[in-house]
């Protein structure tokens, strides 16, 4: 093989195809090229996010968040989310935002924290918004949230002091870092700022005025050590409400505002007609568990919870059943067994909602909720958190 051949090989055209007679004679003793028109390489343009799409984080082993159409089960594209990055969707559907941390030399060098902005049609990097450090944890949906109006991003940090980076998504610049002592796991609080759960069992509300943060606390309503609330809770933008679920299976609804109000809890097990979950050992019962253990369909007020049978402190165990809870009547209206245990659950906010789940093996399930029919089973889809276009 002569130098000429190698060089000739690189005579690629601007249209982007490779061809070199000297090479093709190696590949096959071709005579002449037929009159066939060679194809041209191009790049697909996407639509903005749709209600029946879901976004599945590959997790520790598979960098990237894959976008799937829940109806067809087909992959639409991928947002670049490296390990431990957090993705959020612009409520107006124009941008995907990725809060991420990159070292200049892979695992060494200079630390760089940023919110990277991708347009939703071309999936191209629009800009990077430099921020101070953010937490490295992954698999959490409430460490990077966006205000309902899409104008402000909140990026949680643990340094290990607790604080929040405020990002102006319109001007695309970092605004301020505000301390959030003893609290984490944020939710938007429209017109106020944001709220967060705290280690003392209270809900903190952070009123933002420019770069000034004024923090107030609700009365403690749960025990952060004895019966913690899963920090992957759900937020309903329309009702401005958050639904909380604890390890034992207690369910609260918090109405957000300058002074949030928190409902009395009810037991998900009692709602199914069995005894409530308890914190004591040796009490075998059904418990909620997994990484993203619940999903709320906003229009119907139905909560879908991954449940497993076990003892207390098995809160990371994958669910072997899905319980459908009517929050209004506080009743479990359906229980569905799963063939394989699942770790994360989400539901589309469409009229004909689809339930999306994934498990440790990275296989995603798409279930038609009307029939509980398995519409799609997608291998290697991803094993971490699931997001839908309307993050209610």
């Amino acid at each position: 093989m002569s130098n000429r051949v190698v060089r000739g090989f690189f005579a690629a055209t601007a249209m982007g195809f490779t061809l070199c007679a000297a090479v093709t004679t190696h590949a096959a003793p071709a005579d002449t090229m037929a009159a066939l028109e060679p194809e041209t390489s191009d790049v697909v343009t996407m639509e903005p996010p749709k209600p029946n799409w879901f976004f599945i984080d590959g997790g520790w082993d598979m960098p990237g968040t894959s976008i799937f159409d829940g109806e067809t089960g087909k992959m639409k594209g991928m947002v670049e989310t490296r390990r431990l990055a957090d993705m959020a969707i612009d409520p107006a559907g124009r941008y995907y935002y990725v809060a991420e941390t990159i070292w200049s030399k892979g695992d060494r060098g200079t630390r760089q924290d940023m919110v990277s902005v991708y347009d939703t049609r071309e999936l191209k990097l629009v800009t990077e918004i430099t921020i101070p450090d953010r937490i490295l944890i992954g698999s959490r949906k409430n460490n990077f949230i966006i205000s309902d109006d899409g104008k402000t991003g909140f990026v949680y940090n643990l340094s290990p002091a607790s604080s929040v980076n405020i990002v102006d998504l319109v001007k695309r610049k970092f605004v301020a870092n505000v301390e959030l002592p003893g609290c984490a796991s944020m939710m938007p609080n429209p017109g106020v700022g944001f709220s967060a759960l705290c280690g003392d069992g209270s809900l903190a509300t952070v009123k933002l005025t420019g770069t000034k943060a004024d923090i107030t606390h609700s009365a403690p309503f749960f025990s952060a050590t004895d019966d913690p609330i899963f920090d992957n809770f759900t937020y309903d933008r329309k009702k401005k409400e958050t639904t909380f679920l604890s390890y034992t299976g207690q369910v609260w609804t918090a109405r957000l505002g300058p002074a949030p109000t928190i409902s009395a809890p009810f037991s998900i097990q009692a709602a199914a007609g069995i005894r409530p979950g308890e914190t004591k050992p040796l009490e075998l019962n059904w418990y909620p568990g997994g990484r993203q253990p619940m999903a709320l369909h906003r229009a119907t007020g139905h909560l879908f919870v991954l449940m497993h049978m076990g003892e207390y402190w098995s809160h990371k165990a994958s669910g072997t059943e899905v319980w459908e809870v009517d929050l209004a009547t506080q009743k479990v209206v359906k229980r569905r067994p799963l063939e394989e245990p699942m770790n994360n659950i989400e539901v589309t906010q469409s009229d004909k909602p689809l339930l999306i789940m994934d498990g440790e093996k990275g296989t995603a399930l798409v279930i038609d909720l009307a029939t509980w029919e398995e519409k799609h089973k997608i291998e290697k889809a991803g094993g971490s958190t699931i997001t839908v276009a309307d993050p209610s």
């Binding site: 007609g273 005894r275 040796l282 059904w286 076990g310 003892e311 402190w313 990371k316 009743k331 229980r335």
Partner: protein
């Protein structure tokens, strides 16, 4: 405890929950209920009338009841009651030693684990070793008294590599800090 092991920890209890019927018949009945999935399935169980085991919060968890004190390279070694990640003992390190080239984080999350040899509770610091790619060996995820991010020192998902030259997670040690009770 990654998965609930019904065989190891609950057969007797399951039988009691089922009101004295055999485990198999209880399970099959339970199965029928689940597959039919009526609007309000009632699990045919009531509070177990077990012979008064210690049900206080301080009683032994499922992990503690089956923990061992001989092999530090297994997930059920007693100190690992709240560990999450690769055991450094399987990565070239030790129970309180980081493998060569990695660096112990000065801060950590903690667990309270019961030593089966003396039945006492000890405070364990799960110090991450940082600055190498994930070790990959002996992955464990035990969750006794493990809580959520608003209580970070009791959360085992955080990358506990603060103050190290690299925050890349390699493996986790389980350092004995002292007696907890």
């Amino acid at each position: 405890m990654k998965k609930f092991d019904a065989d190891a920890m609950g057969e007797k209890l399951l039988r009691k929950l089922a009101g004295g019927s055999s485990r198999r018949s209880m399970l099959s009945r339970l199965g029928a209920v689940l597959v039919a999935a009526p609007a309000f399935p009632l699990l045919p169980v009531s509070r177990a009338e077990a012979a008064k085991p210690d049900r206080s919060p301080e009683a032994k968890t499922a992990f503690a009841r089956t923990a061992q004190s001989k092999d530090e390279t297994k997930c059920d070694y007693w100190r690992y009651c709240a560990i999450d990640g690769a055991l450094c003992t399987c990565c070239g390190g030790g129970i309180h030693s980081c493998p060569a080239g990695s660096e112990p984080s000065p801060v950590s999350w903690v667990g309270t684990c019961i030593n089966p040899d003396d039945g006492k509770a000890y405070l364990i610091a799960y110090r991450d070793c940082c600055g190498k790619p994930a070790c990959g060996q002996c992955g464990c995820d035990n969750t006794d008294r493990e809580t959520q991010l608003y209580m970070p020192q009791l959360n085992n998902d955080v990358i506990w590599c603060f103050g190290t030259s690299s925050m890349e997670y390699h493996c986790s040690t389980a350092v004995l800090v002292g007696a907890a009770s």
